[in-house]
């Protein structure tokens, strides 16, 4: 699933969580300077401190069942907390804080066996009872905690029982093949200590996890400082516990240009980016040896035009198709994304189950688009002007104007509406829009996107009401055969392509850039998972900071 993401505060987090940020900032792959090779890397060094520049503050804090975390919040959460499962290089969810996560024969009952001897930062032990309480809190069944979005995401859970000191049994309403993926939930479903779970006054800022770092201080808007957890349960190859660093500082720098400046000036040791302009600047810095970059579009989010299909004219597939056919996406890539970032073929990024190189999404065809519009107008009268809502950012406005010109060529009048981000959210919630810029659907297991598309879901912002999509979502959720499952989600991808429920732009490439002295975030230096499998290749949900080290 995906949970809520923006802001310095609540709204930015919310925005990104709900995947609002505009098609603009989509990701992609740098032409140069990306994916630093570290063959010449020195052996890991213990000690030291790094400052990690984040794109936003997490104003709501980290009371995880209630938090609305964006990427910046997830980065902190993954340093402080552990999730029961974690994805590996193949996109499979393997045990992490759990020692095993096993289903019964028909996938209606899952038994989570916990690792022995793990303690929280306050010294309390990890037990089945605490994990049960956590899962209950996430699904809105724990007194004193008020989760919201996770309630819908984990709606398929029927019961949660501590069936032994270290065993938790979860039963589901329908067979749930991808349940382990939901125990990760883009890194948001960390296990918090009982004391934090019951903390009515400061659950958001007195963080107690089992993770590699313990919180030392949080000066909201300035920095969150976390120090090494000397009792961490995961062992590094040198036989000592992770992490390598003594300290990690997360500092929000909202302006991406300033994040580049801070990196160049040495004020931060590493930072993350997802906008084309920063990529261009960082490529140049990488060429000069000032920074090194690692890019990934694996399991990425997708930037797209969200279409409100519940009202005219976009309740008619012909108008949606005409919208898609009006745009030359290669030209869009050159003009808007400076030639960077891969054009999206559908919601599933490369690496994810359901990904197709060609999902049947319409290519530019002005004549056919005109014909479809004419056919629609013949039946329904003249096509009314439609509005495109975008936030005031430079790139989002460029996109708006680009789209306006593109659809004008097929006879669609696009009125541009500039709205603040919070209003954009309101409009998405209330359905008070025609089309708007969005970014969402980070890859993982395709079933995690169920909640965004199911016709009766409260977060189905596109108002998609397609019995075929509903059927495929339900089938995919309970299908245990990987091959059949893959076919189901590929069909779903094609259904999106033919029905144009959304107009795809590009996949978001995330980039981690660092000083040359920082190691431990590239594919050849990332820590392996506890089961020995290779690390996850995506960056949309952060990476494990326990493996970072610095040589100076």
């Amino acid at each position: 699933m995906t949970h809520a993401r923006r802001r310095t505060g609540r709204t930015l987090a919310l925005l990104v969580t709900l995947a609002l940020l505009l098609a603009a900032c989509g990701g992609g792959k740098g032409e140069s300077g990306g994916n630093a090779e570290e063959q010449d890397a020195v052996d890991p060094v213990r000690g030291g401190s790094v400052t990690y520049g984040q794109e936003a503050e997490t104003g709501d804090g980290w009371c995880l069942p209630e938090s609305q975390l964006a990427i910046s919040g997830i980065n902190v959460a993954r340093a402080i907390y552990d999730t029961l499962t974690a994805p590996n290089a193949e996109g499979e969810y393997v045990p992490n804080l759990a020692e095993a996560v096993e289903p019964n024969d028909d996938f209606t009952e899952w038994t989570i066996t916990l690792r022995d001897g793990v303690t929280f930062h306050d010294g309390s032990p990890l037990t089945a009872e605490v994990v049960k309480n956590n899962i209950d809190a996430y699904r809105g069944q724990y007194e004193g905690r008020a989760a919201l979005l996770f309630i819908f995401v984990l709606d398929n859970i029927d019961t949660v029982e501590a069936t032994g000191p270290m065993d938790v049994t979860v039963t589901t309403k329908v067979p749930w093949v991808a349940f382990p993926a939901f125990l990760f939930s883009s890194g948001r479903l960390g296990i918090i200590a009982q004391a934090q779970l019951d903390d009515a006054d400061s659950c958001d800022r007195d963080l107690i996890g089992t993770g590699p770092f313990k919180i030392k201080s949080w000066n909201k808007g300035r920095e969150l400082v976390a120090v090494k957890n000397p009792d961490y349960w995961q062992m590094a190859p040198d036989g000592e516990p992770y992490p390598y660093l003594d300290e990690i500082r997360f500092t929000p720098i909202v302006e991406s240009e300033q994040r580049v400046n801070a990196l160049q000036a040495g004020d931060v040791d590493l930072a993350h980016f997802s906008d084309a302009q920063s990529f261009v600047s960082l490529n140049s810095l990488a060429d000069d040896g000032i920074v090194k970059n690692r890019d990934s579009e694996a399991f990425a989010e997708v930037a797209f035009v969200q279409i409100n299909s519940s009202k005219p004219p976009f309740d008619d597939v012909r108008v949606r198709q005409a919208l898609a056919m009006a745009v030359d996406r290669q030209d869009y890539k050159e003009v808007i994304n400076q030639g960077l970032f891969t054009i999206a073929s559908g919601p599933y990024a490369p690496g994810a189950v359901g990904y197709l190189e060609d999902a049947g999404y319409p290519t530019q065809n002005i004549d056919e688009a005109k014909r479809l519009i004419a056919e629609y107008e013949q039946e329904n009268g003249p096509l009314p002007p439609v509005s495109y809502q975008a936030t005031p950012g430079t790139v989002t406005q460029q996109i708006a104007v680009y789209l306006q010109q593109a659809v004008k060529a097929v006879g669609v009048q696009l009125d541009l509406a500039t709205v603040q981000q919070d209003k954009l959210i309101d409009n998405a919630i209330s359905g008070d829009y025609d089309i708007m810029g969005f970014r969402n659907y980070p890859g993982g297991d395709p079933d995690e996107l169920y909640v965004w598309w199911k016709s009766d879901s409260p977060v189905n912002f596109g108002r998609i009401n397609d019995p075929e999509i509903d059927r495929l979502l339900d089938e995919g959720r309970s299908e245990p055969d990987p091959a059949k499952r893959k076919a189901i989600y590929e069909d779903l991808n094609r259904q999106f392509g033919s029905e144009v429920w959304s107009a795809w732009s590009s996949w978001t490439t995330w980039r981690i850039s660092s000083q040359p002295s920082v190691y431990g975030y590239t594919l050849d230096t990332l820590p392996k998972l506890p089961d020995g499998s290779d690390p996850f290749t995506g960056l949309a949900t952060g990476f494990p900071t326990m493996g970072l080290w610095v040589t100076q």
Binding site: A4, R7, T8, G9, R10, T11, L12, L14, L18, E57, G59, D60, G61, C63, E66, S67, Q68, G140, A146, L148, L149, I151, F152, A200, D201, S202, C203, D204, R205, N219, K220, G221, R222, T251, P252, I253, V254, E255, E257, Q258, N261, A262, Q264, A265, D267, Q421, D422, K423, I425, D426, I429, S430, G431, S455, D456, S457, P458, V459, N460, F461
Partner: protein
């Protein structure tokens, strides 16, 4: 008690009475303005659609919306909401930030956000005045000369550039490009905030890049303060120049010159003081503008001040935080201007006497 002291006390009393009225209007206006913002805070706090066909989902959503509405007293009539808030406000209780996970007093957020903003505005005012004084005086003295023309062009240039654009340019060219070539004890970062390490000199460090470093604080604030100051400098310089030109034509200046007093002394001791009254007033009035500009500058430079707090409150529709923060800024603005008004009278007895009469 001398008549002078009495008239000043009367003036202060009158100002305080006006202040109460102004503050009532300001807080009421702030309160109403916040309520008139588009959108419903509940939508933001419960970011899911209510038109779901799933009954149990709808029940959960409605219950959560109701809980937040109750917590924020959004169903109370506006007068009651205002009285509740202002009652707490005047006793120092600014209310609580609304989060689902915790209770955070707004006073905590304000206490931590006020120092950076106060410092930013103070430093930018000092920089603006320090730049404007010599340039304004010399421009007036050399009216029409090359220095005057260059100063005027520079002033118009800095006026025409928005503060955030200046900020980004300074961040790159000074913070990134120039900083590495400066002596090691000078560290001008492109962004970030280093707090001033308290009033106890025993806690001060003069080493750069160390905790409690005093130089890091001042050099760290240099670029944001300069970004704000350049626009103000232009206004101050132009005002001072124009006032100085007038003053230099006064009889008492001619008298001073005829007595053989040096040009420098005439300019700095005799002409500057009467010419600085407008500058002083405008500097006070500029506090509001500076606070407005600080919102952007604080975001650009990553300074966790009142501007950032207000901006995040607007985006997050944190009613209580927003109205309390804006009210504090408005009160500061009104109080500063009232103090300046009093100072104005002290500096120029003619004004005090006219008002007293």
């Amino acid at each position: 008690m001398s008549s002078n002291t009495l008239s000043i006390l009367k003036l202060i009393g009158r100002k305080l009475a006006q202040l109460v009225v102004v503050l009532f209007v300001v807080t009421l206006f702030t309160f109403l303005l916040v309520r008139l913002l588009p959108g419903d805070p509940v939508d933001l706090l419960v970011p899911v659609s209510t038109d779901t066909t799933d009954e149990s989902d709808r029940a959960i959503i409605e219950a959560r919306r109701q809980q937040i509405t109750d917590d924020l007293d959004l169903n109370d009539p506006l007068p009651k909401q205002y009285i509740t808030w202002i009652g707490g406000f005047v006793t120092g209780d600014l209310g609580n930030e609304y989060t689902v996970s915790s209770t955070i007093p707004v006073s905590d957020a304000v206490t931590s956000a006020l120092p950076p903003t106060t410092q930013l505005i103070l430093y930018s005012q000092i920089l603006a005045v320090l730049l404007a004084l010599p340039v304004g005086v010399i421009s007036a003295y050399r009216q029409g000369g090359i220095f005057d023309r260059i100063a005027n062009v520079s002033a118009f240039g800095s006026l025409s550039l928005p503060g955030f654009a200046i900020g980004l340019l300074l961040a790159y060219w000074v913070g990134v490009r120039l900083n590495p070539s400066l002596p090691t004890w000078i560290n001008i970062p492109p962004q970030g905030y280093t707090p001033f390490p308290g009033l106890n000199p025993a806690n001060w460090s003069f080493e750069p890049r160390t905790p409690d470093s005093v130089p890091d604080h001042f050099f760290g604030m240099l670029l944001p303060a300069l970004s704000l100051a350049l626009g103000q400098f232009a206004v101050y310089m132009r005002l001072l120049r124009s006032d100085m030109i007038q003053t230099l034509q006064e009889d008492f200046i001619l008298m001073a010159k005829s007595k053989g007093i040096s040009n420098g002394r005439v300019l700095w001791r005799h002409a500057l003081r009467p010419s600085s009254l407008t500058l002083l007033t405008v500097a006070g009035l500029s506090v509001g503008t500076l606070i407005g500009n600080a919102v952007v500058i604080e975001v650009v430079f990553g300074i966790p001040g009142m501007g950032t707090l207000i901006a995040s409150s607007i985006i997050g529709r944190e009613f209580i935080t927003l109205q309390s923060s804006v009210a504090i800024v408005a009160i500061a603005f009104v109080v500063i201007n009232a103090l300046l008004d009093i100072l104005y009278s002290v500096l120029d007895p003619r004004i005090r006497n006219v008002r007293a009469a």
